[in-house]
């Protein structure tokens, strides 16, 4: 609450609210609705901040919450003896909760899957050495005494669970000062067809050196994730997660509407 209070106080003019709603109901003028949205945007921001620890960018949450606010404005009955904020809060919170539910049942990962994920992570390295090749999901499942579906679920949900905000900072422990842009020139022939290199170049700046290196090793040099894991001395699942994040960052930067 203190954080939200730094920007704007959570106090609204009741008289003005009543006046605007009365006028909006009478005229349906979208400009009045916009004014109401602007007036109560700080409520959305305040509520959205309560969800920001779940790893989604605050701006996205405010956008989602604003949809809830608009719904509340459209449905609010001024004749009811209830404050608009009392009415709007559950609608906005409901919209935010729905967003998380729709986006990722994976975001709240059950403990058994978190634990299984750790076990899978450990067993993959051991099996890779034992078999001298990358294991299959069935082999991992056999070793752990669980079903392959459970392994798949643990791997996939853990990616969402571990997914940090796109603006989040990631460690660069084995990334050195790698810059993919410097390599792109040397490997130009591999980028035939990729016409808009300027936008790719700009997008790459959003990645850490380690992510750029993983991108380079996987897509330019054609190494498998297991080979990259071995080269960078991290786990295959870590490579998988970073690669997924990397592609999401690049898509987001190259195409704003997608994310």
């Amino acid at each position: 609450m203190a954080e939200a209070g730094q920007n704007r106080s959570l106090v609204w003019d009741r008289g003005k609210t009543y006046e605007l709603f009365t006028e909006y109901r009478a005229t349906g003028d979208p400009e009045i609705r916009d004014e109401l949205v602007r007036m109560y945007l700080n409520l959305v921001e305040y509520l959205a901040r309560r969800f920001k620890s779940r790893g989604e960018p605050l701006d996205d949450l405010i956008q989602v919450g604003t949809i809830g606010l608009i719904k509340a404005i459209d449905r609010f009955d001024i004749e009811r003896a209830v404050e608009f904020t009392t009415y709007a809060t559950p609608t906005i919170v409901g919209e935010l909760k729905r967003y998380f539910r729709d986006k990722g049942w994976a975001i709240r990962v059950p403990r058994r899957l978190q634990e299984l994920n750790l076990q899978v992570n450990q067993i993959v390295n051991g099996l890779t050495q034992e078999l001298r090749r990358t294991p299959t999901i069935n082999e991992i499942a056999d070793k752990l005494g669980v079903t392959s579906e459970e392994v798949i679920e643990a791997m996939e949900t853990s990616e969402a669970y571990n997914f940090i905000s796109l603006d989040g900072d990631l460690s660069t422990e084995s990334g050195e000062n790698f810059s993919l842009l410097e390599y792109i020139g040397e490997n130009d022939k591999q980028l035939v067809g990729l016409e808009d290199r300027a936008s790719l170049g700009a997008a790459l700046k959003g990645l850490t050196p380690q992510e750029q290196k993983i991108l380079y090793l996987r897509f330019f040099r054609g190494l498998t994730q297991t080979e990259i894991a071995s080269e960078l001395d991290i786990s295959q699942m870590h490579v998988s997660r970073l690669l997924r994040r990397t592609l999401q960052v690049l898509r987001q930067k190259m195409l704003s509407f997608e994310e």
Binding site: K103, E156, L191, E258, E259
Partner: protein
């Protein structure tokens, strides 16, 4: 989901949230075919990229996805109708194609301005 003669037909709303479900789905099929972990991850990247490509091209909901398991390969086809005037050039398309080519063994697009028809093949 419908399964006929080993082919599996899936229809999904063309909304980004369903890309995760598609990743899970393909993981299940790939693990039954004994693809190794690296190949399963490649397939997850591939279906997500193909799904987002269909989104960018303005494919109408639902998009149809056909999984065709073969003896040593999995073929995945994305089919759908493109909304009128929706297919625009996009800088992410070339990048998407680049990624797809890196993670699958065969890639072909046989669609037109009105039809989306993308086929990916991954060998075991």
């Amino acid at each position: 989901m419908v399964e006929t003669d080993g082919r599996i037909y899936l229809e999904l709303p063309i909304e980004k949230e369903f890309a995760g479900l598609l990743r899970l789905f393909v993981s299940g099929i790939a693990s039954r075919m004994d693809f190794d972990l690296d190949a399963v991850d490649d397939l997850k990247i591939a279906v997500e990229e193909a799904f987002l490509t269909a989104m960018r091209r303005g494919v109408e909901s639902p998009v149809q996805i056909h999984f065709v398991p073969g003896d040593y390969r999995l073929s995945i086809e994305f089919k759908g109708r493109v909304a009128k005037g929706a297919a625009e050039e996009n800088p992410a398309d070339d990048f998407g194609k680049f990624i797809l080519e890196a993670v699958v063994d065969e890639l072909s697009h046989m669609g037109s301005d009105t039809d989306f028809d993308l086929r990916l093949v991954k060998n075991v």
